[in-house]
């Protein structure tokens, strides 16, 4: 298992290099530049040149990339051109909010999704299954923007149970968690249901039934454990989403976070900030996938051989 983990870690190095290339160059493919956002009526053309020189934007892209990489390897993500603050400080300010919402939404969608999937699979073909499947379908199609506003209307405006927006205290986290997590519930529930149904059809489950074990125990102790392998894959891929996937929710609920930081930076073509945020999100996805691989390998030893 240790060897497997080490091999996976070594593989991350070329991946990191490719990601750094993509992250650096992709923003330069988009038209526009950040200096336009710094100048106002009254600024002189010389100021444009000064700003370009200050941030190294007057150098070739290749030169800029190696400067950026050099700083990156020493832990420096650069300085935001628009905000004038270190990128790492800006990310550090926003990261806790993204983690708070992302983890809450991931937990909510995972626990609710697995429960719904298990129940739907256990009652396959019945009304219960139909109702849950219907909700799954609805949850995967409702836009989170619309859902967010609907939740605000019902629970904050009409009932007055929670604040309309903001990021002050746990009560302000409830509605964003539900809005951000609903799509995840649908996904997790669908995968869990299918995996449970497929696992239930395997010979060892028939044997367990023949042995006279109660169906409830078979479902939870044996079928669910095997069915968790694809669910873990899905969840590991959603670790990246935890950090940057709730942009719309952050917008509707007026919450700070990495997603809204990235969107603002993109609109202003704030290259260092865009690159810092994208790198952070890309690394979260890569690390999520790594964790998923390791957990899968731990749960199913055959995976270690296949992926080795």
């Amino acid at each position: 298992m240790i060897g497997f983990t080490l091999r996976r870690l070594v593989l991350l190095l070329p991946v990191f290099f490719v990601v750094s290339l993509v992250v650096f160059f992709i923003i330069h493919l988009v038209p526009g530049d950040p200096i336009d956002n710094l100048l106002r009526a009254g600024s002189s053309p010389e100021q444009r040149l000064q700003i370009a020189a200050k941030y190294g934007l007057d150098r070739s892209l290749v030169e800029q990339y190696f400067t950026w990489m050099g700083r990156l390897l020493s832990g420096d993500l650069g300085t935001s051109i628009i905000q004038g603050r270190p990128v790492s400080a800006l990310i550090a300010r926003n990261l806790p909010f993204s983690l708070e919402l992302g983890i809450a939404a991931l937990l909510f969608s995972t626990l609710t999704g697995i429960t719904a999937g298990v129940i739907a699979a256990s009652y396959q073909g019945t009304r219960v299954d139909d109702v849950i499947t219907g909700f799954i379908l609805l949850g995967s199609t409702v836009p989170s923007f619309w859902l967010g506003l609907l939740l605000i209307l019902v629970f904050a405006v009409w009932l007055g149970w929670v604040p309309v927006s903001g990021a002050r205290g746990w009560s302000s986290l409830i509605l964003p968690t539900i809005a951000a997590g609903l799509g995840g519930i649908a996904l997790v529930a669908r995968v869990t249901r299918i995996a449970m149904i497929e696992t239930s059809r395997q010979d060892f489950v028939t044997l367990l039934h023949a042995k006279g074990l109660p169906p409830f125990i078979i479902q939870l102790r044996h079928v669910l454990r095997h069915a968790m392998v694809p669910v873990v894959t899905i969840l590991s891929l959603r670790i990246g989403w935890v950090l940057g996937g709730a942009v719309t929710i952050e917008y509707v609920f007026a919450r700070p976070g990495l997603g809204s930081l990235l969107i603002r930076a993109l609109n202003q073509r704030d290259y260092p900030l865009v690159q810092g945020c994208l790198l952070m999100l890309a690394m979260a996805v890569i690390i999520g996938a790594l964790i998923g691989d390791i957990v899968q390998a731990a749960m199913d030893p055959r995976q270690r051989e296949v992926r080795a």
């Binding site: 526009g32 009526a41 628009i82 603050r85 923007f145 506003l149 007055g160 927006s165 007026a254």
Partner: protein, 529 residues
């Protein structure tokens, strides 16, 4: 209906539903506290340091006082400078400073403050504000003289800018890059308590304050003792906060939301004259707009009143020249103003040799009168573009609309890839004409590509040779008259600034003072008992 329109529709419907059914559960914490929501244009300020900021919000005007205040009618009023005098040649400005003013950290405000402050702009993005100042001389403890490199009557405008709020020298130098982030100190009516970027700034009343400007009724400490300024990017969410009492005042209401909000009994509204112009920009380097006749015909085909009604719900003003109407420089010869005249537009194109084909569209030498109109993706821009497309069709011009995000459009303008573009600026000074039309600013921001000796000469006179404000006004009028006579733009709309407040929470003066709802009015706002 595309995704953006769908989302906008959802917002309006949700807003309507929310307003109709809301219970009005106030979230006010105490009788002397209030929460304001910043306008969308103010959201995202990374700090509240006026010297190095590129974006400042209302917060800065509450923490820092300025030497001079500017009212909604663009007139200037004393504040930390009790009086000022400009020498006849414009080369010296002498300011008498107010006595008895202290910064939030207890430091005194005096002439030494100004002598420290002006040089701080050197090397910052805001250096242009004091670029004409050669040096500051301390005459006595409360008198300073600005010795100028060149006459600059616009200095008074710069001194009234929110970027020229005066910070405490001691606090500023001590905090370094953290000034405006973790701490901030000025002489303003509010003291800085905390700032969470992208979220909120909390201010508390400066109880020692007794030097309010003559724009405010209340010259002493503000009535609201604890003021939170929140950043809420989604307009629907902000309105629902206003309705439920989570927010007392919205500093910026888009025109399209006004009809729904005005139906609400508990909400009050105030407005101020606009701060910018929506216009149609030409690229004179791209055919057919190199021909003044085509530009004039296009300009005369635009019906500003129809756009005001259908795009902006009748909110704001029709624009017929390039500057906001409260500026003295906007009062040009009325005969030169650009007004809808379809018959003349068609005559001009006929005379220029553009003949109508069977489908009603025009062509000349077998070349169709087909142009591209670039617009931003926001709803108001898109709808304006659609109406312009229909209006220009009436003169036989075939318009194809292209939609991009704002930064991509700027990139296109810089490369001269546009023909027509729906644009908007926000600026309350006539030097915007220099910004957009000076030869020195080609290719951007002068994306019109306009190069003309006479225009540039008038620009130089207005920008560099005006010695007094009156001279400057007269010179800029002549400059605009020259530009408008060459049909380099089509003015369309002058938005007004809309503010909404919850009348169960706040009492807002009927008449707002200042160019925006900032310090001058905020100190007069009371919490409803």
């Amino acid at each position: 209906m595309n995704r953006r329109e769908f989302l906008a529709s959802v917002s309006v419907v949700t807003l309507a539903a929310g307003l109709g059914l809301a219970g009005g559960n106030s979230a006010r914490a105490s009788e002397s506290e209030a929460v304001f929501a910043l306008g969308n244009a103010e959201i995202g300020a990374p700090h509240h340091d006026p010297i190095r900021a590129t974006l400042l919000s209302t917060v800065a005007t509450l923490i820092y006082d300025r030497m001079i205040e500017q009212d909604a009618d663009q007139s200037y009023h004393p504040h930390l400078a009790e009086s000022w005098e400009n020498s006849a040649d414009g080369m010296n400005w002498t300011f008498k400073l107010r006595q008895g003013v202290r910064f939030h950290d207890g430091e005194p405000f005096n002439a030494a403050t100004i002598a420290w402050w002006i040089p701080k702009f050197k090397g910052s993005v805001n250096e242009y504000l004091v670029d004409a100042v050669d040096r500051v001389e301390v005459v006595d403890d409360y008198t300073v003289r600005f010795v100028m490199k060149r006459a600059e009557p616009n200095l008074i405008y710069n001194l009234a800018s929110s970027f020229m709020g005066i910070p405490s020298p001691k606090a500023y130098d001590a905090a370094g890059d953290n000034f405006g982030v973790t701490e901030a100190a000025g002489t303003g009516p509010y003291k800085f308590e905390s700032f969470a970027v992208g979220q909120e700034t909390v201010l508390v009343a400066n109880e020692d304050y007794n030097w309010g400007s003559d724009l405010s009724e209340n010259k002493g400490a503000p009535y609201i003792k604890r003021l939170t300024l929140r950043e809420i990017p989604d307009a629907s969410t902000a309105f629902l906060e206003l309705k439920t009492g989570g927010v007392g005042l919205l500093l910026g209401v888009p025109d399209q939301f006004l009809p729904q909000l005005q139906a609400e009994e508990t909400l009050g509204f105030r407005s101020l004259p606009g701060f910018g112009i929506t216009y149609l920009a030409f690229n004179t380097l791209a055919e057919p707009f190199g021909d003044v006749a085509v530009r004039q015909a296009t300009a005369l085909a635009v019906d500003q009143s129809a756009i005001l009604k259908s795009v902006f719900n009748g909110v704001g003003l029709e624009a017929h020249q390039f500057l906001i109407s409260t500026l003295a420089e906007s009062k040009i010869d009325p005969k030169l103003e650009i007004r809808h005249d379809l018959a003349k537009a068609n005559q001009l194109l006929d005379a220029a040799g553009w003949v109508r084909d069977g489908d009603g569209m025009r062509s000349k030498d077998s070349k169709p009168l087909k142009v591209k109109l670039t617009a931003q993706s926001e709803t108001a821009f898109k709808r304006t573009a659609e109406i312009l497309q229909a209006q220009l069709k009436t003169i036989g011009m075939d318009v194809e609309i292209e939609i991009f995000d704002s930064t991509t459009i700027v990139d296109q303008l810089k490369k001269g890839q546009h023909q027509l573009a729906v644009r908007q600026y926000g600026w309350n000074n006539a030097d915007i004409l220099d910004w957009f039309f000076s030869t020195t600013n080609i290719p951007y921001p002068n994306s019109s590509g306009w190069q003309d000796e006479k225009s540039q000469e008038l620009r130089d006179i207005a920008m560099q040779q005006s010695k007094t404000l009156d001279e400057r006004v007269a010179n800029f009028r002549k400059y605009q008259e020259n530009l408008i006579g060459n049909f380099l733009f089509v003015p369309i709309h002058e938005p007004i600034l809309n503010y909404a407040f919850n009348e169960t929470l706040l009492e807002v003066p009927e008449k707002l003072r200042g160019t925006q709802l900032v310090q001058a009015t905020t100190v007069d706002i009371k919490v409803v008992g």
